[in-house]
């Protein structure tokens, strides 16, 4: 059964209204910011973003913010707990008549992969277990980006970072496999979770719109192509984001109450096309092709999709 959007079928259906305005201190071509911009078109401005330390912490730099929503910076390891405190307090104040119901806001954690995959995992697990009604938006650029691109648990096999250099001992660069945070979340059985890519805007908007029907924890893993960290020209951010999906590396999917649906099944072009666009994988092709490493990446992707078909 193919997944069909119900609300967003045509591009012109995407709200024109902006909630993330130009002039942020983020890098040119930031794929994470593009996802946030699209997400905010559905989330709107009645939102409080609970931020964890990462690239997006720069968004609110005193005295500026590019958002027309509220903002609370917490720590790297406890943004979901910040969301808990805000959500609980809003509920209590509304129940006690101290805050009008129409002043309520959505609570959205805004965190990078470093925080999401490792440091805030206890805080996240707690929030999901407590069935906290919140959105979790992770901009996943597969490295500690704000500190200058170091290995994170999200860094995929074969990527070069400043702490997983390509060396004689490790010619492929990173030798770890990207942690499967989607499955870690899914083991908690939250009502809604999805992966998104800004190059598939209808898919993205549809998922944010659908999620609104599910009170409780809602995860969005947003593919965040990163020109600065992945070493490509910012002009190629859309191509990298598109190829990640078309090569099968970044599956677009959702899970409702734990049941997974792939929202787009790519024909799957060779992963090489995706890898070759980025400097972080260049050592796999120059000065000599690392056939084994490239095959390893392709095999992992193939095996993932074989399981999907089965």
């Amino acid at each position: 059964m193919t997944w069909e959007p119900h609300i967003f079928k045509e591009l012109h259906q995407i709200p024109r209204e902006e909630h993330v305005f130009p002039g942020t201190p983020l890098c040119a071509g930031c794929g994470g910011l593009e996802s946030l911009r699209l997400a905010s078109k559905v989330l709107g401005s009645r939102v409080v973003y609970i931020n964890a330390a990462g690239c997006f912490t720069n968004l609110a730099s005193f005295p500026f913010t590019p958002l027309d929503a509220s903002w609370l910076y917490t720590t790297m390891g406890s943004a979901p707990a910040g969301a808990q405190g805000v959500r609980d307090a809003l509920d209590v104040l509304i129940a006690k008549g101290r805050l009008p119901k129409d002043e309520d806001v959505k609570v959205v954690v805004l965190a990078g992969d470093g925080s999401t995959y490792d440091m805030a995992l206890s805080s996240t697990s707690g929030a999901i277990t407590r069935k906290l009604d919140f959105y979790y938006f992770c901009y996943d650029n597969e490295a500690y980006g704000n500190t200058g691109v170091q290995l994170s648990p999200s860094t995929p096999y074969g990527a070069r970072t400043t702490t997983s250099p390509c060396s004689v001992q490790h010619p492929a660069g990173s030798t770890q496999e990207k942690k499967d945070i989607f499955e870690i979340w899914r083991a908690h059985r939250p009502p809604y979770m999805a992966t998104v890519s800004p190059r598939f805007p209808l898919d993205l908007e549809e998922k944010f719109a659908r999620a609104a029907d599910y009170p409780g924890p809602k995860l969005f893993l947003a593919f965040a192509a990163c020109p600065t960290g992945w070493l490509f020209d910012p002009a190629y951010t859309p191509d990298v984001a598109r190829l990640a999906v078309e090569c099968g590396i970044w599956p677009l999917k959702e899970a409702i109450n734990g049941e997974v649906t792939h929202t787009y099944v790519p024909k799957r072009r060779p992963v090489e096309e995706y890898l070759k666009l980025q400097g972080r994988f260049r050592h796999l092709f120059e000065p000599a092709r690392q056939e084994e490493a490239i095959k390893h990446i392709q095999d992992r992707v193939d095996s993932y999709w074989e399981k999907v078909k089965a």
Binding site: S45, A60, F62, T65, W71, Y73, A83, S122, S123
Partner: protein, 416 residues
């Protein structure tokens, strides 16, 4: 008001702390268990369930998360209470600084317990004093009654627009947390007069009025501005505390100072202590006075803001002062000794000698003999005109016991 009609009931320091939160009519209690604090969150969770407290109680996944939730809820405009101890306080350490920087008032009770390693349960003050630079106000209580009363005062001071900082109330694990003492539970209506509802204009998240809290700053001058503001606000706490103390006395008949002077009037030597062990110190003062020694005790109660002037007033002109720190900064000595020394430096009539003693670590008793020795050494130092220390208090009996334990450990290891 009804001062005469107040009846006391026996309760532990932990129960008194829970009563403080209950009377403060808090909205939100994020909790996490840790010995010896757990009874506080157990009690409050029961009261929230039964409706005796109209608040939401939530068990978080760690103290780090708990402190974040506490600060975030206060930032949203709720009156928040939480409690922890020892390792829990340190686990939340970065959050202490973070939420203080948000300038959100709420009250955290710390039940002092010595820090690992070696891991242990009984109290000293390395936990709470580690947080002395976090931006939290700190009130250290000697009795169960003072625990309850200080929580009410802490809310009033923290929420004052001149302050707007979170506050910590400290009580000693075991010695107060599990010790029953007579406590008068203040009349809830009078508490409402003392502590008006929390309606902060500068906090809250509303759909119609977006607000950014805790944004990044770049450049030392912007950063320094905000940090200076925190310092000045904390210093305002001295005046605000005095106003709160006057009003508290008017309503409840009990007066709390920034510091407490015990038999200081004619004292030539003064012992400085904090928290529950100050009761032992007072008994030692009585015993020494019975032997004809003119000694007294200064109990530090408000630690942040640091009441330098009150301390100078109390200690100037004395022959000798002994600071008995129930904490140890390895490689330095007593933490409060250093702060006392710094604030006496500019006094015209400095004490002739300032002595440093370290005692009560991990809840170790301070015996009558040790107190006698402290007074004797302090008197000698005063006569000589030079201070001593840090002196690490340890009795011969304790040393013998420790040697026996070491023999045992050795024999078990070697099989001899």
């Amino acid at each position: 008001m009804n001062k005469m009609n107040q009846t006391s009931q026996m309760m532990t320091g932990n129960l008194a702390a829970a009563w403080g939160a209950r009377l403060a009519d808090v909205d939100y209690i994020p909790g996490f268990p840790i010995t010896p604090q757990t009874e506080i969150v157990e009690t409050l969770s029961k009261w929230c369930d039964s409706g005796e407290v109209n608040a939401r109680f939530v068990t978080l996944d760690s103290e780090h998360s708990m402190m974040t939730a506490a600060g975030a809820a206060a930032a949203t405009g709720a009156r928040v209470f939480t409690a922890t101890s020892s390792q829990g306080l340190l686990h939340a350490f970065e959050v202490l600084y973070t939420v203080a920087g948000w300038r959100v008032p709420f009250v955290l009770v710390n039940v002092s317990r010595a820090l690992a390693s070696p891991i242990t349960l009984e109290p000293d003050h390395n936990d709470v004093l580690a947080a002395r630079d976090s931006g939290f106000l700190q009130i250290h209580a000697e009795t169960c009654q003072e625990v309850l009363d200080s929580i009410l005062m802490a809310y009033r001071i923290a929420e004052d627009p001149r302050v707007c900082l979170p506050a910590m109330v400290n009580l000693d694990g075991f010695y107060l947390s599990f010790t029953r003492e007579p406590v008068i539970v203040p009349d809830p209506q009078a508490v409402k007069t003392f502590l008006p509802p929390f309606r902060p204009a500068h906090l809250g998240f509303k759909g119609s009025a977006p607000r950014a809290l805790g944004p990044a700053v770049f450049g030392g001058s912007v950063y320094s501005y905000f940090r200076h503001q925190m310092h000045l606000a904390a210093m305002n706490g001295l005046q605000v505390h005095e106003e709160a103390a006057v009003e508290f006395e008017r309503l409840f008949g009990r007066r709390y100072g920034l510091v407490e002077a015990y038999k200081l009037d004619d004292a030539e030597d003064v012992l400085v202590m904090t928290n529950a062990f100050a009761s032992k110190g007072k008994a030692a003062v009585d015993a020494a006075r019975a032997e004809g020694k003119r000694v007294g005790l200064l109990r530090l109660r408000v630690i942040r803001p640091w009441p330098a002037e009150a301390i100078r007033q109390a200690l100037q002109g004395r022959r000798a002062v002994a600071v008995l720190d129930q904490n140890l900064a390895p490689g330095q000595g007593g933490i409060l000794y250093q702060e006392i020394a710094a604030c006496l430096y500019h006094g015209a009539q400095r004490p002739r000698a300032l002595c440093s003693f370290i005692g009560g670590l991990g809840g170790k008793n301070i015996s009558e003999g040790e107190f006698r020795s402290v007074f004797e050494q302090t008197a000698e130092a005063g006569a000589r005109g030079t201070g001593i220390g840090p002196v690490l208090l340890y009795t011969e009996g304790e040393h013998r016991e420790m040697e026996q334990l070491q023999y045992l450990a050795h024999d078990l290891k070697t099989g001899k």
